[in-house]
Symmetry: C2
Amino acid sequence: MGVYRDLGRDFDEWFDWIIREAEVYDYGRYPVKGMGVWLPYGFKIRKHVVELMRSLLDSTGHEEILLPILIPDGILAKESEHVHGFEDQVYWVTHGGLAPLDVKLALRPTSETPLSYLESLWIKSYRQLPKKYYQVVSVFRYETGATRAMIRVREVSTFKEAHTLHATYEDSERQVVEAVEIYSTFFRELGIPFLVSKRPEWDKFPGAIYTIAFDTLMPDGRTLQIGTVHNLGRSFTIAFNVWVHMPDGSMDYGWQTSYGISERVVASLVSVHGDSVGLRLPFKYAPVQVVVVPIPTGPEEARREVAALCERVTEELRVGGVRVALDDREDMTPGDKFYYWERRGVPLRIEIGPREVREGSVTVVRRDNRSRVSVKLEELVRAVVDIGEEYDEAIKAEALEGFGKRITRISDLGEAERAVASGHIVEIPWCGRVSCATEMEIRVGGKALGTPLRTDEREVEGLSCPVCGDRARSLMRFSKRY
Amino acid sequence: MGVYRDLGRDFDEWFDWIIREAEVYDYGRYPVKGMGVWLPYGFKIRKHVVELMRSLLDSTGHEEILLPILIPDGILAKESEHVHGFEDQVYWVTHGGLAPLDVKLALRPTSETPLSYLESLWIKSYRQLPKKYYQVVSVFRYETGATRAMIRVREVSTFKEAHTLHATYEDSERQVVEAVEIYSTFFRELGIPFLVSKRPEWDKFPGAIYTIAFDTLMPDGRTLQIGTVHNLGRSFTIAFNVWVHMPDGSMDYGWQTSYGISERVVASLVSVHGDSVGLRLPFKYAPVQVVVVPIPTGPEEARREVAALCERVTEELRVGGVRVALDDREDMTPGDKFYYWERRGVPLRIEIGPREVREGSVTVVRRDNRSRVSVKLEELVRAVVDIGEEYDEAIKAEALEGFGKRITRISDLGEAERAVASGHIVEIPWCGRVSCATEMEIRVGGKALGTPLRTDEREVEGLSCPVCGDRARSLMRFSKRY
């Protein structure tokens, strides 16, 4: 039985409770506001998520690097739009030991500026391009408003930022498509539903031509931005003199893209699959995929047989490549153990008592629906993996279904307001004027997420902007946002 | 042919040259002193090294976590010996955006203080102990003197720090033994020769009861500290109120150890195995273990056959679990390719020309001694792995032999001075007095490394301290040091 019955209503409390209770992330106790601690279990979840991202990037020609954490004032300030977008939010290192530094140093808010500086040293010719770098690092934002564990933090400690350089604009556009594909695969793998939107002009990354964003929906009905892809054009290559020898012998500035995700991925993984009992992690990416719990009853010998079978099953699963834990703690009842591992989102539980010993089988219980299946020992590993895969399909389908139900196309702004208030994303026909989108934001009580990546003209055929009445050119999405 | 013939004499230049030339680490060009960039190839070397360390720690019950990078002034200052050891070297964050912060924040120089603070919240009972945490992070030291790529940097970007907590002093002592074993295994795996010394009192970690250090010898005859293990006693648990419920019902402070390594491991890996041509990486940990180079000669068809066999061999090795690269660049001669991959320390090169096609074989060339072996295609993977293992044994033995020759036991201080000047570590009988060790440091022109972990009394039987003439109680080691 969970503490929080209605995740929609109690989401904030549920989230704070489960990340501490399941030992994911310790937040609010570290004595610097907006900075949390990855606990051992949470670190393992984070590791699986990061490794998935690494494998997607490595297999598409991205190279991992590691830049210094500090950026000198002069470098950060070189691209003016960029620095204006960040200057209120930058932490500054001003002293080394007891002495003031000659040049103040920023804790990186993101790495477009130092990397562009380095690219001006590293890249000479179109033959070296495209170049796709990435790093997984901490970045810092001095958020002045309310902070939130993993969602709005001052140290983003799981920032995967990719930066690419190209000889032509066309190639940078292809890279944007690749990035959107990589992120789509990534979120699908994790079963995190998402919408891809082209952010409105007024909400793009400082310095970019345009920004594409991935949003998911949290149980409280607010969307969370979980990934962004920017076409940076030549803002930074011009500012940093990233000149490239082109095939025709000329010299020209390169073209860049960048794209990032953060620990918000873990926050959404926790939130979109979780239930009132706790986490429900995907089998494929769970630190512990299966827990074996002995149900010892009867005489001493029967108990010994149960213990022996538990160990044998654990070992077989381990050898079979399953991440398995045996919970043989003696000071806890089986019921308490069930709850302990359910809270931690372990996908499958194997119960073994005297009956299982007698029958040469185990009982496999799924975390999502508590369905129980008896599995013969001869089929153990195969059956467990199969059930794990079914479980993954089920929790993904559940998340996707809930998400789909909450996306609504509406022309009436009154209806849209009610939908947004009840936790929906609405898509409203839009003429393309900033003033109309601003008016819509006010009237629907939500923020603009942007337009679908490609608007099929037929989708808006015959529709008009509910603010000005002019012909709609696309749909604009609105929701409550984090 | 390498640029630097005598690594001993030209070591500084060779090191700077090879880490840039082999694209390991870009240093001296990033516009913050003492901060470098891990380039893609270097990042991969670093990754293999870090993964080896992780596997050793994970398999001995260590849990990976991740703490914030910033430590508030008040926390850092809580253990007084500790803060005095670091206060001249700490970078301070004083501003968020344009406004000064209420409390200044240190970029962590190491994490004993914040972790002890957290342990006071996390740990309640001896039942939770021992607790072994570790993290792999950046730490910062505002070095005021000369900096050196990977060796003396202001951002140590590959700091693996482990922190353990115990119910008893005896258990913390066992942990020190385990840590020394783990590090010994680690350096042996990488073929990095080392001496383990108990550092003299005046050179221990600020706040520790004692410090044990691992030193290797660089080609220029200076020792480099590549790992340290500290028994911290209760300095930090008392300062931070890390109270633990003990089995007898009492409450008492816990006992701690900590131990760390850094990118100096990569620096020494590069240096102890490298030669005038470039890197020589261990087969087991090389990012690229084998490079396949086509030697196309003769008519078009023969060339096509060579190319086809190269692809087949590359694929077979890849499927066989070997990290292999095929260098089929058309604008480079085979000779230039040889040099390119030798510089990067790739252990084995496979050459394939028309003769190999005819004979159904490949030619395998070892990076260390350039020995050539013809290998039948049927035996490809097995033979390559065997040759790789032989190569590893050979480079390790070579490094160990060179190291062993440079450790000398000497009683005469004049001889000791000459030995230290020529790049040796000397072991001098020592009475145990600080004043005598200080005198020895001056007279031999080296720094004290400390005493062997266990001094067998027979080893110093009948020996006397060359400064005061009293009976020697142990050996004290001296060398030029980084």
